[in-house]
């Protein structure tokens, strides 16, 4: 293995570290853009992932989960009698003002409600907390909500739309871009505060042995005019697709990531260009001696990849630290996964190859005859 590329980098350590730091900055930009994008998407999916059931029924007009068109009660009874349906568990959702103490300010909160006997979601509650919902005017609070609500202690009084309720325990869900905090109540508690509320979705549990696809088609056949039926995985996909395409989230953060990548590519090119320029006569000598273009390009690509690898690792480390801070501050699900790290590593590698090839042009075009 030829060591020239490595030696050119390692014996110019100071310049190389500076170059890598520049590339690392661009890598960090890409990571942060990706972190926010996935944070928004993943946070949006937490409610879907909490679903405990085989199918989810939504109103057809409800294009995504932040549009609150409800199901009609008639739908619930239609679905309940479809063969193969074991249980229909409606989930209610309402935006409300929460006041933590008589003289505290109102804060918007989303209240999720369902029957505590058969919850359609699993939100990380304790048995005692869930049981407490059987008593009227009890609520649970999402511990991962943004810290705008103040300290909430089990047993304390709270005011939801002016109605006095009592905190029975905690759940664990997390905010989204739009929702700062979540409370959970029983269906009857929510209806006592807001009698007109309609379910935003119904989670269906299919009878043991029944074919889920067939039940899905049967539900659509029975009540299909204004509803959609999904498996939880399909709903998650639809949600992501909606946010990526229709909402400009994919475009917005995609552009940010592309810009970061481009900045990294330009820095890598610039650094290589200067490093090659300084040694152009040594490269020309290689060509005069009978080293082919492939060899010389290999030496330059080797350097490009080393710069990119160094920049990537520094950027990854910085992203790792920054992600923890961002997740803490925003409450969004911002975290690194192996496929995401791998995707950015691959993008860096490709960008460095492009930068290397672009910088190698000056060597390909240099004329070793000029050495004499």
């Amino acid at each position: 293995m030829n060591q020239l590329g490595w030696r050119l980098i390692s014996r110019d350590a100071w310049r190389s570290v500076l170059a890598m730091a520049g590339i690392a900055t661009a890598v960090l930009i890409v990571f942060v853009e990706m972190g926010f994008m996935n944070g928004i998407l993943d946070s949006q999916l937490r409610i879907v992932e909490a679903v405990r059931g085989d199918l989810v029924v939504l109103d057809k007009r409800r294009l995504h989960l932040d549009k609150w068109d409800g199901l009609l009660p008639i739908h619930l009874s239609q679905i309940a009698v479809v063969p193969g349906v074991a249980a229909v568990m409606p989930l209610y959702q309402a935006g409300m003002n929460l006041r933590n103490g008589p003289d505290r300010p109102d804060r918007r909160v989303v209240v999720l409600a369902f029957s505590p006997d058969d919850p359609p979601l699993e939100l990380g509650w304790s048995r005692a907390a869930l049981d407490s919902l059987r008593e009227p005017e009890r609520v649970l609070f999402d511990r991962k909500s943004r810290p705008i609500y103040g300290e909430l202690a089990v047993g304390q009084a709270l005011w939801l739309e002016g109605r006095r309720v009592r905190l029975g325990g905690y759940v664990s869900l997390g905010p989204t871009v739009i929702i700062d905090g979540v409370m959970v109540s029983s269906e009857s508690t929510l209806k006592s505060i807001n009698p007109g509320v309609r379910p935003i979705m119904a989670v269906v549990r299919v009878a043991p042995g029944a074919d889920i696809e067939r039940v899905k088609r049967a539900i659509l056949g029975r009540a299909g005019e204004d509803i959609d039926v999904f498996r939880p995985g399909e709903l998650a996909d639809r949600e992501i697709t909606y946010l990526r395409r229709t909402a400009p989230i994919g475009l917005l953060f995609g552009a940010g990531m592309a810009a970061g990548l481009f900045v990294g590519l330009v820095i890598c090119y610039q650094v290589l260009y200067v490093a090659i320029r300084r040694r152009i006569q040594a490269y020309a000598t290689l060509k005069a001696m009978g080293f082919g273009n492939a060899f010389v390009i290999g030496v330059i690509l080797h350097q490009a990849v080393l710069y990119a690898a160094g920049g990537f690792l520094i950027g990854l480390l910085a992203a790792f630290l920054l992600y923890q801070e961002l997740a803490l501050r925003t409450g969004l699900a911002i975290f690194l996964t192996a496929p995401r790290i791998g995707a950015i590593a691959l993008a860096c590698l490709l960008a460095s190859v492009v930068a290397g090839l672009a910088a190698a042009r000056q060597v390909i075009h240099c004329d070793p005859a000029e050495l004499y």
């Binding site: 030829n2 060591q3 020239l4 030696r7 050119l8 390692s10 014996r11 110019d12 040694r279 006569q281 040594a282 020309a284 000598t285 060509k287 005069a288 001696m289 009978g290 080293f291 082919g292 004329d367 070793p368 005859a369 050495l371 004499y372």
Partner: protein
Amino acid sequence: MIPMTVAADQTRIHCSHLSYAYGSGAEEQPVLSGIGFDISAGEFVILTGPSGSGKSTLVTLIGGLRRLQRGQLRVLGSDLAGASEAALVLLRRDIGFIFQDHHLFDALTPRETMHLTMGLRRERYGKQDYLERPERWLTRIGLQRRMDVLPGKLSTGQRQRVAVARALINEPDLILADEPTASLDPESAAITLDCLREAVSQRGAAVLMISHDSRHYALADRVLTLVDGKLV
């Protein structure tokens, strides 16, 4: 005692009716015209002449660094008229080039430069060669104690000597040198000329060296003089 490496024909350079011009059309500037000469194995030939007479141009043509325009040129058995770029690259591996400047990589020690150069001929060398050959050559040029320092810590003369070792380590059949001693201290100049002489006398290499220094003429078997693009 000349080993027969390039077939029975001992002609290393055959050149006839060679002409060359820079630029084209109205800009055309003829530099060489009607050049003809042969250099055989075991010959040390000096090329001299006033500045601008076309010496460097001729050497780059012979070295396959520039494309032939008119005339015949055969180098180490390869016909350079219409030779492909790939063929020229391969030809250059059999030629030892010495330039006025060393053009070493600042990041490679003399030993590493030798290793890199040996890589051009890796089919010839075994593991042992990579250990011994650089040491032998670097000792030969008086750098036995400087084999592992970077060029930044070497004197100009020492660097140029490394470039000489680089040109010779693969034992090329033809060595092309352009005023290799012009800016050297006497010790480095003497070592450089010794090495070239040795390549000619011991293994029958052919040397074509550009020089203005008439003291070198005594070393040469022949002196070619170029004036205004013509041999006189």
